[in-house]
Structure formats: structure tokens, C-alpha cells
Symmetry: C3
Subunit: 273 residues, 3 copies
């Protein structure tokens, strides 16, 4: 029942601590507000423990990491873990640089996450400890398609077991697995790839879904993926003549703002494998 998951976000209104990149941070904040949660951002090592203490979840995104914010990630991560908060890792650009790959791998080992959400190239990098990505986008050769779906599902399940957490791999087809079952989600539109930060936004929103549904993390993660994709579909229907990726960005957040239990239940398209 994905509908229940978003309903719980609007009821619980969780406060989410985001250590995220400065490229898409404003959209992350606005989509958290749109889904009924509250965002707070802090990456200074001396500030993050206090901030994460008053939150219900921690979203770590390494998109524009630096030495200071990396220290903040570890300190916030350990504190959130010790308090039993939900933790999500978005390994933006893992595979594109040694610092990003190593930071993500070290965070997985030393902090531990409830969910890791990335594109297929980033997750392949984390699975093997090294890899290649086309910057912050997935390598086309890695893309999950209907043709390679079986092997992709097997890979994501395997990664989830190996990493000991839920794995959410988003792309043309989205896969969300806890190592045993795997949600295969077919919401979304290709044009979302022309907007910077739809992945970052999803990671923020997913952390809110997890914080509001702590007994049901796999479904909550899948519901967030479906909600984001569905928002992309509904927003596209509202596009006016001449509008492009900048307006589409706003319309997607707007669609999340209006999303409720009923809309998500009716619009979600997925199967469980």
C-alpha cells in the first residue's frame, strides 16, 4: 500500500537532515516540504550532531563533497546511527573519482545505511569497489532495460544482500530490493533526466518516507520511487507550449505537493519479483 506510506509522511511530518550538494539543494528542500516533511541542511562537523539529533532521518549525498563536509557526513552518520534514525546514502558520482568512490565505500563500512539509492553505474561501482560512470549520469551500457531485467534484478538483490541494506537503483526501470524481494517500478518519464537533481530530490523524499514508515522500509522506499516517477508523469501532462526542463522541474515538485494516498495508489505501476 504505497498510499499509506505517503499518508504517513503527511501525518508524521518528519524532520530530515540533509548533507547534500549545493547544486540541487534548493529543490531537495522544496520537495521535502511538498511531500509533507521538513528539511534542514547542515554540513559543518561542529554543527551536524546537534542538528541530526532533532531529526528523524539523515540523507547523505556526496554530490559536491569536500574535506569538511566529508567529516560532517561521518559525524552526523555515527550520531544518527547511535540514535536509531533512518539513514540514506546517495553516492553521486561514485566511479567518477577516487575520492567519491572511497568516501561512499568508507561511509558504508563505518556508518551503515538503511538504503543506498543511486543510478546503476554508481551501484555497480559500490558493488565492485571501483567502476566508471559518465560523470553523474549512468553509463548507457549499464542501463536497466526490459531486455536485461532478469539479470539486473539479480544484481540488485545481490548488492542489497552484500551491503546489508535496501538498494534502490533508479533509471528507465527502477529496482528496489532488500535482497529477498525486488520491486520493479515503471513510473517516470525519460525527460526527467534532462533536469538536474531529480535523483537528489528522490533521495531526500525517500528519507522522509523511511522516517515516517520505520516498520516498513522496503515498501516505503519503493513508494517514494513510485511517487517521484508518478509526479514526473502528472507534471508532464501539465506542460504548456514552450516549456522545457526548468518549468518541468517546478511542475514535478508541484505534483508532489498535490499528491495524496489516492493519487499514488491509482498511479503506481509496479510488480514484485
Amino acid at each position: 500500500m504505497f498510499g499509506n506510506c505517503i499518508k504517513n509522511v503527511r501525518t508524521a511530518a518528519p524532520l530530515v537532515h540533509n548533507i547534500t550538494n549545493y547544486v540541487t539543494v534548493n529543490d531537495v528542500a522544496n520537495i521535502l516540504l511538498a511531500c509533507g516533511a521538513s528539511p534542514i541542511m547542515s554540513d559543518e562537523p561542529e554543527d551536524v550532531e546537534d542538528i541530526t539529533s532533532i531529526c528523524g532521518g539523515l540523507n547523505i549525498n556526496i554530490g559536491t563533497l569536500n574535506q569538511r563536509s566529508i567529516e560532517g557526513m561521518f559525524r552526523a552518520g555515527r550520531k544518527a546511527r547511535s540514535m536509531g534514525h533512518v539513514l540514506l546514502l546517495d553516492p553521486v558520482g561514485a566511479g567518477a573519482s577516487a575520492l567519491r568512490t572511497n568516501t561512499a565505500v568508507k561511509l558504508m563500512k563505518e556508518v551503515g545505511f538503511d538504503v543506498i539509492r543511486g543510478n546503476i553505474s554508481e551501484i555497480k561501482t559500490l558493488a565492485s569497489g571501483s567502476g566508471t560512470t559518465k560523470g553523474v549520469d549512468a553509463d548507457a551500457a549499464d542501463a536497466v532495460t526490459e531486455e536485461n531485467l532478469d539479470s539486473a534484478v539479480a544484481f540488485v538483490k545481490g548488492f542489497a544482500r552484500q551491503a546489508g541494506c535496501i538498494a534502490a537503483v533508479t533509471g528507465a526501470v527502477d529496482l528496489v530490493s532488500d535482497g529477498k524481494s525486488c520491486y520493479v517500478i515503471r513510473n517516470g518519464r525519460e525527460e526527467m533526466g534532462k533536469i538536474t537533481g531529480t535523483g537528489c530530490q528522490l533521495s531526500g523524499m525517500m528519507t522522509a518516507f523511511l522516517a515516517a514508515n520505520p516498520e516498513n522500509k522496503l515498501e516505503a522506499s519503493a513508494a517514494a520511487v513510485s511517487a517521484m516517477g508518478l509526479a514526473g508523469e502528472l507534471a508532464w501532462e501539465r506542460m504548456q507550449e514552450g516549456e522545457g526542463n526548468a518549468s518541468y522541474r517546478n511542475r514535478i515538485i508541484d505534483a508532489v505537493c498535490h499528491m495524496n494516498e489516492k493519487i499514488l495508489e491509482e498511479g503506481a505501476r509496479y510488480e514484485v519479483r
Copy 2:
């Protein structure tokens, strides 16, 4: 005459130096341009004194403070003070972490401000030197309402006297006081709370109003509060079907872009106590 205050901003076109958080900084820049001012951002300690020297006002917002930017705040603040520029402090998240509370308190002591603008929980924290906030939003228990208005006005007046500056406490009802009189402003819409950074935007715009109306700081502060709230009302009237908080954000800045003396005079709703 609030109308006169915005007219003076458009005529003087003050340059405003902002040391502000990276979450909402783009909207702060665009609303400053919308009201007729010019923004410049700089937080590097070795850069801020030169930058603030060519400006007419300094807006310090501690939303994503770090050790480097904190040093920048003090250096810019002292320089701006020594040059007689207007200074505004937005103590985002004071009460949510020791670093934020202590930084705000120390800035008040060592730099001094013409105006401190925050939500009621942040201002209560500064009044007592400690406190609790729900992240960057006001605690519901603290909210200023018609029911507790008398005591809230007394509190804000007292804080203004204690801090030796104008206090602007924004929320459902907005209060702006220099310790003697208090503007009670009833512009704005509840939905503005679903947008990240309307407070930050107001702080930026208020600094421009102060810089352009140096002989009339209390009224200029109140006029900025009223202009922001009125923009929220006018923008709401223009909302189209399916639009949500992302579009609302743009429409509010758009409404400021079109605001003039006449619109503000006619739309402002306030009393002085």
C-alpha cells in the same frame, strides 16, 4: 508610508552583501533584484571586507554556517559596522544547535545589528541564550496568534530593548518593534511556510529596504515584512490549477518584481501598538 520605502529601494538600487546559506541563496538574489536592489554574495574571510566596503548593507544568515563562513561573518560585520552600513542578522536555526545559538549570540555582542529577523522560536532562544526550535521552523507552541498577541507584542518590544536593535518576528502574525512601538502586520498566507526560504528572502529584501531608508529603519523593516506578505497574497491569486510550492515560490518573487508604491500602500494591512 510603506509605499515610500519601496520607492526608495527602486531609486537608490542599493548593493547588498549577503553571507547566507546555500539552500535558498538563489531566491535571495532574485528577490533582491526583483525589489530593485543588487545582490552580491561572498563568505570567504579574505574577500568579505573588500566586498562589503562597496555595498550599502550586510545581510548575515547563519542557515548553513561553517567555520570559514563564521569567520567571514565577523570580519564582514566589523567592517560594515565601521563604515556605518546597515546590518541585519537572520539567526536561522538558533536553538537547534549550540553552534548556531552561540554564533548568533556572539555576533550580536561583537558586531551588533540594526535588525534581527527570525521566527518566534529563534528570537526566544536569543532572548534567553538557549531554547528549542523544530529545526528551522518555529515551534508550534511558540506561535504568535491573535489570542496571545498582547504578550507576544510585549515580548518582542522587550527583546528589541534588550538587544538594542529592531526585532522582526515573522509568522502567522508579524511583529516589528524598536522597543517602543510595535508594528503588527497581517499580510501573508499560511502556504508560504511550504516554500523553503521565504524568511531568508525577506531578510535579504529587508536589508535593501534598510539601506535605502536609513533615516527610517523601523518603518522600512515593517514595510519589507508587509511587502513580502502581500507578494504572497498576490502570487496566490495567480496560481494555476496543479501548481504547488515550487511555482508559488516563483510567483512570489514575480509579485515583488511588479510591486510599486501604490500596490504596497493599498495592500499593506497593519496596526501600530
Copy 3:
């Protein structure tokens, strides 16, 4: 053939590394996606060499520089230079602070650029090694107009020769020169100056044009200038009642999203001197 230049961007889809300010970075990313390129942002010194290695061009913008990002600029710049990538410098605020002026001058000497793009006051500062700017906007006294066009063209040609690169000076009339010939471009609208970051966006997009047209850098630079100005014209035609600078910002990026060879060829207005 400006049309060919944008066609090549859409075909090559170059990955562009941006070390840019946190004020306008989201718009820079979205306009790069809109024109068919891919953005990646990284300013941490230990990250930038890996990141720039997988890119086709490097865009350095000193808008909110700090000691860490300055080191990142030099390390990324040297790496990109050694790999033969195209490099662009946007000297935001050169003349407004010693740190900005000195950093820009030092980057020119130690890294070297294919293109320097700025407003006339910034370029005059770099030409003389010192100068004055009104914050991040050009000083009105410096503005390029039809009246002083001959001397402005001569100045820009001279600066290009002196700096050993293409100079792109944008304003009411845009000038792009390699020291021998000079494109005089008359696309654009005055209202673009009321949006934060149209210059930053242009610098990002221009780097993509350069990366996709390495044999034709002068024309590629001029084509990017013309495309940005034309997008401003087309976006303005789509403005609805009540819209202002925030919506205009989105509509300009949207217009780039829809721009193709034919639209650019037909809309470009320029002469070569």
C-alpha cells in the same frame, strides 16, 4: 553558421566540469542540460583532477570563491590544460575585491584559457590589473553602446591579443573577439539583467559549445552568446501577465531547451568587424 554549433552540442553531448558559485549553480546545471550537454560540479582539490579528466571542458567561475575552491580551480585548470580540454574563465566580481582580481589574473597566467567571458568592467579590470565594478554588475560608465562601439571593439580586440585568448564581453551589445575579428551581437533583452546568473549560465553553456566545436572556437563562443540572447527574446514573448524575473529565468532555460539549428540561424543578429 551558428546553427551548426548548437547542433554539434546536441550530437556530442559534452560533459562539462564547472567550478562555479553556489548562487546560480542550479541554473548553470539546468541550462547545460537544456542545450544538450551534461554538467558536473566539483571544487574539492582532491576531487577535481579525477572529475575534470572525464570531461570535455572546464568552466571556472570565481563568483563565490574561497581558499579551498581557489586551490581546486588551479588543480583542475592545470589538469584540464594538460589534457587539451577547452577552458573558460568567468571572472565574476574582478575589480570588486583584491582576492577576486588577483585570483583571476593568476589563473590567466598559470593556467591559461581559451575564452574569458565577463562584463565590460570585469574585463577592463583584467586588462589593467585593477579596476572598479559595481559588485557583480558592470559599471554604467563602462557600458558598451552603439555610440562607443568602435572604441569598445578596439578594446576587446586588444584585450584578446594581450590575453592570448578569445574575449567575450557581454552587455547591451555583446562583443566576442579573438584579437583579429570581432563578432558584434545584438540579441538579448535588457530585462535579463534582472535575473541573477544569466552571465554564469552563458559561461556554462559557452563551455559546452567550445567542447563540441573545438576547431571553431571563436564562432562557437559567439554562437553561445547569440543563443543565450535569443533565448531571452523568445522567453520574453512567452511571459504571462503577472510574471517577473523568477518566471523569466525558467522561461529562458526552457527556450534553450527547445532551441535548434534552425531557430538559432534565423534568430541570430550579428555582424563581424
